[in-house]
Symmetry: C2
Subunit: 122 residues, 2 copies
């Protein structure tokens, strides 16, 4: 399958992808997708990203079980960012919080801890 015509992948062939909880509206995380990751998301109905640190396709929740079931994928006006509207299993953040954005810039914790990371990641 070729690239969607109106997607503008950057020079590293990545596109930033925001994951938002489809029910609560909470912004869960920001990660990146390749064209392949996006195709896998559409095919499987579960959010896939590209891990820049591991340099590989990343099925979110593939090991932890904290998958994101995709309800809708949106694209922005100039095609250089996408938005996954998801149903989040468990919590989105590896720290145990529901969202990766669990702190204010001033350091106050505003998110909710929903699982114990030590019991999930060995």
């Amino acid at each position: 399958m070729s690239a969607d015509p109106d997607l503008a992948f950057d020079e590293q062939e990545l596109l930033p992808a925001i994951a938002q909880d489809a029910d609560s509206g909470e912004v869960l995380m920001l990660a990146y997708v390749t064209e392949n990751a996006l195709e896998r998301s559409r095919e499987t109905g579960e959010a896939h990203y590209y891990s820049r640190s591991r340099e590989e396709l990343w099925h979110k929740g593939g090991s932890s079980g904290h998958v994101q079931r995709i309800r809708e994928i949106r694209v922005d006006c100039d095609g250089d960012a996408i938005l996954y509207l998801v149903e989040q299993e468990g919590g989105a953040c590896h720290t145990g919080y529901d969202s990766c954005f669990y702190r204010t810039l001033d350091g106050e914790t505003v998110g909710e801890k929903v699982f114990d990371p030590e019991s999930v990641y060995e």
Copy 2:
């Protein structure tokens, strides 16, 4: 003022910034900030970004009047993305839609048009 200790600007000294409507929860746009843009946002209470195309500080709504009043700024777990929770004046998108994410990946328009761009941008 030095950089906040837990912010991880990329090699171009940029950080992706998501703007979310603080009341409706709608994700409005994704743009980028420099340390300077972030400082201007904190000082003025209105969202500033860095325009990569114009290569300059960008006060969102500075010419259109569609400013974003910042209610809170959040940072993600690894400090490489921020979230502006804002009160959006007018619409966020230059196309006239409330959000830049007004289309699904399949091309369906799901956003709401809130202003006529031709009457705002000359």
